[in-house]
């Protein structure tokens, strides 16, 4: 019955309801798909972080992070990642202004920032491994601490790596004049997401 009523009322005023053909979100399918992908990817990290919270709450003790991590270096890594997000936003803004040259420069800068972050991450891992941290073993207390550290930062790092590759491709395409504003923006969404994930990992794992 509802259907019938709906059909006739809608046909009486055909523009009253949205008529299809475009998205209710008023975004292109590329952007929508990237957003939905980011939701699933965010929930993957949520799964890791929730597990980390679970195990940490269920553990009788947890290491003092200040004694484990060189806080200055972690802070510098965070700064680098945030700065790369700012350059990425600038690149997206330039792409929207059809200023492809500026967009290319800033995308390349962003990729450089990502590389710098990865480099710092790698040295951090090397230091901790040298001090005896393993997936199976943690010199500062409960074993899951090291396991979660390597898993979560490893997964975030792999996302950064994928982002760097993606941005390099985008920069090359911009150089050849083949990239679209949409392409830069979608790549930008991914890069900011990587930064957002770090915004959660940094306080939840390193600070608290």
């Amino acid at each position: 019955m509802t259907t019938v009523a709906m059909g006739s009322s809608e046909t009486a005023a055909p523009v009253a309801h949205w008529q299809g053909g475009v998205s209710p979100f008023a975004v292109s399918w590329q952007k929508l798909m990237m957003w939905i992908f980011l939701v699933t990817d965010a929930l993957l990290f949520a799964g890791f972080l929730a597990s980390y919270g679970f195990v940490r709450l269920a553990s009788p003790a947890w290491p003092e992070q200040n004694e484990v991590f060189p806080m200055l270096k972690i802070a510098a890594m965070t700064f680098v990642l945030i700065t790369s997000s700012a350059t990425m936003a600038t690149a997206v803004g330039a792409a929207h202004r059809r200023d492809l040259k500026r967009a290319m420069v800033f995308v390349a800068l962003t990729a450089l920032g990502g590389l710098l972050f990865l480099l710092a991450q790698a040295t951090e891992w090397a230091t901790l491994i040298a001090e005896g941290a393993r997936l199976t073993h943690n010199p500062w207390g409960p074993a899951p601490f090291a396991a979660f550290f390597f898993m979560i930062t490893g997964f975030h790092g792999s996302h950064v790596l994928i982002g760097v590759i993606l941005l390099t491709v985008v920069a090359l395409r911009l150089w050849r004049g083949r990239a679209t504003g949409m392409g830069v923006e979608v790549a930008g969404l991914y890069w900011h997401f990587v930064d957002v994930v770090w915004c959660f990992i940094f306080p939840l794992f390193y600070l608290l």
Binding site: F54, I82, L208
Partner: protein, 97 residues
């Protein structure tokens, strides 16, 4: 996206983000009540994420439907997962104080 964000805005946001990060690190070492420190850090974290989402990911310029779908879907799901795990974790026999 119809409106164009001025470049300056991105870099203003950048300054705020850096300041927030710095304040989190300072707060962690500050001689304050633990609960206060934790709440401040979590708040600053959420603020940072909101700023990146709103200005850098341009959610500010999108329709409310998209913002609500993306943000609510992610946060409600993650919160459901986490907060239904917490009572389990703290009732396990090996759990600490």
């Amino acid at each position: 996206m119809e409106r164009i964000t001025p470049y300056r805005t991105y870099w203003l946001v950048w300054i705020v983000l850096l300041a927030l990060t710095l304040s989190m690190i300072v707060a962690e070492g500050a001689p304050l009540a633990r609960g206060l420190v934790v709440s401040f850090i979590l708040l600053a974290m959420l603020l940072k994420v909101t700023m990146i989402g709103a200005w850098y990911m341009h959610l500010r310029l999108e329709r409310a439907a998209l913002i609500l779908s993306v943000v609510l879907a992610t946060f409600v799901t993650a919160a459901a997962l986490f907060f239904l795990l917490v009572p389990e974790a703290i009732s396990l026999p090996q759990a600490g104080p």
